[in-house]
């Protein structure tokens, strides 16, 4: 069991060197709300980030934010500020910090932390209303999805 696991890990590390470098949610370090280091060691994919931004089961960022470039997707929210020009206002490091855990940048913000898996009050198992086991919790977005969103946000320049 253990040997196959190690072998598989070696094979995977061989094929996808970046996988070994994923930063776990608890290991992310914030400086003034920003995260300097890529969570995957790889650049994000802006197209994939666009999908995360607009999909209900994923980031669903437009539930709260208006984004002119995403007007093909209906119903943008007004809970957060418009993200037009976010790529000018913030560095990639800051955007990474905001997406991973906006509470580090904006104290007490309503914006959910997308890359975190502990410290919740009564966490549920997705949208079932049932209790989740704390150890089974996954962050709302994967490290790669966070990087993809960051890459997309960087395209929002005016």
């Amino acid at each position: 069991m253990k040997r196959t696991f190690v072998a598989a890990a070696v094979v995977m590390a061989g094929t996808f060197p970046a996988l070994a470098e994923v930063v776990a949610p608890a290991a992310v370090t914030y400086a003034d709300g920003a995260v300097a280091q890529s969570l995957t060691g790889q650049a994000g994919n802006a197209d994939a980030g666009r999908t995360v931004m607009t999909t209900r089961g994923l980031g669903n960022c437009i539930a709260c934010h208006q984004v002119t470039a995403l007007e093909d997707f209906p119903f943008h929210g007004e809970v957060g500020p418009s993200l037009d020009g976010a790529g000018d206002r913030w560095t990639q490091e800051e955007l990474r910090g905001i997406v991973a855990n906006a509470k580090m940048m904006f104290d007490g913000t309503i914006m959910p932390a997308f890359y975190k898996k502990s410290g919740y009050v009564r966490p549920g198992d997705g949208y079932t209303g049932k209790a989740a086991k704390e150890e089974d919790l996954e962050p709302l977005l994967t490290a790669q999805q966070v990087e993809d969103v960051v890459a997309y946000l960087a395209t929002l320049t005016e």
Binding site: A63, Q66, F75, E78, Y120, P123, D125, G126
Partner: protein, 283 residues
């Protein structure tokens, strides 16, 4: 405009909204059957710290949805009120009594819905109207309890709401009810689930804003039970709580739980001064 918006884009959206809102009758007044005047906006009660004016959920709904509540013939919730009348008149249990045996007519209970949840001296706890109904059944009728969130119970609650329409919600929050009220308040402001959202995040900080396709209201409960076009049935207060808590990706409390009773008392008190409006129509 009710609130300051943060960015220019939000301002533009808000202006579009306000324009839409004019046609959606956000400033309109609700008179049911051209007879029952419903207070849909008024000064917030003194115990509300962060809100000046309270609004019924009706003011946030579209023209079409609003219209359905203006006439009982159009209000699909009234069918359930009629079904509630049948339950009211049906004898049940070892004593062979119905609600009507003691209370004569539902109209005799006008005003009751406006003051529930309410402290019950004998039980030494805050009672919702459902709890009171079930106590009548077990202690006075010798009958089984009705399922707290079931059809018969909800129809009865809709009936009792309907006869109180137009009366101001006026729940007591002091005296022995105070600790329950405070617990409800704490629950209202607790950020739960993986999205870490509290009731207040959506219904106090962001009412009148859009969250995706939904126009956020103050989450008032003066209109409950509410007929929702979405699921074409009467929805209870506790079912609504459950849905909203679930949407924060949290473990919900159960209908009839002490937590939801406390939350119901607290939320009712945030609507003190609005009219009883149930059964309301919502989307």
């Amino acid at each position: 405009m009710r609130k300051m918006m943060t960015s220019v884009a939000a301002m533009t959206a808000a202006i579009a909204l306000a324009a839409g809102a004019a046609s959606a009758g956000q400033e309109d007044n609700l008179v049911v059957n051209e007879e029952i005047e419903i207070v849909v906006r008024t000064d917030a009660p003194a115990h509300m710290e962060n809100v000046d004016t309270i609004y019924s959920g009706w003011t946030f709904r579209s023209d079409e949805t609003q219209a359905l509540q203006m006439d009982d013939f159009d209000n699909p919730g009234m069918i359930f009120v009629d079904m509630g009348r049948e339950v009211f008149d049906a004898a049940a249990g070892s004593e062979g009594k119905s609600c009507a045996s003691c209370h004569e007519s539902p109209e005799n209970l006008k005003g009751v819905k406006a003051v529930y949840p309410k402290w019950n001296d004998q039980a030494e706890e805050v009672y919702t109207i459902e709890m009171q109904i079930n106590e009548c059944r077990t202690d006075r009728m010798g009958a089984e309890k009705l399922k707290y969130n079931g059809g018969d119970m909800t129809n009865l609650v809709a009936l009792l709401a309907s006869v109180s329409r137009g009366m101001p919600v006026n729940v007591a929050i002091d005296g022995p009810a105070q600790s329950t009220w405070e617990w409800g308040k704490e629950l209202y402001y607790s950020r739960t689930g993986q999205l870490e959202l509290s009731c207040a995040n959506c219904h106090e900080d962001n009412y009148d804003n859009m969250i995706r396709a939904d126009h956020l209201s103050q989450g008032q409960i003066n209109g409950f039970p509410a007929y929702r076009l979405k699921n074409a049935k009467l929805n209870t207060v506790h079912d609504r709580f459950k849905g909203c808590v679930r949407d924060t990706r949290a473990e919900t409390y159960a209908p009839a739980s002490p937590e939801f009773v406390a939350l119901e008392l607290y939320l009712s008190s945030r609507g003190n001064g609005l009219s009883v409006e149930g059964p309301s129509v919502r989307n």
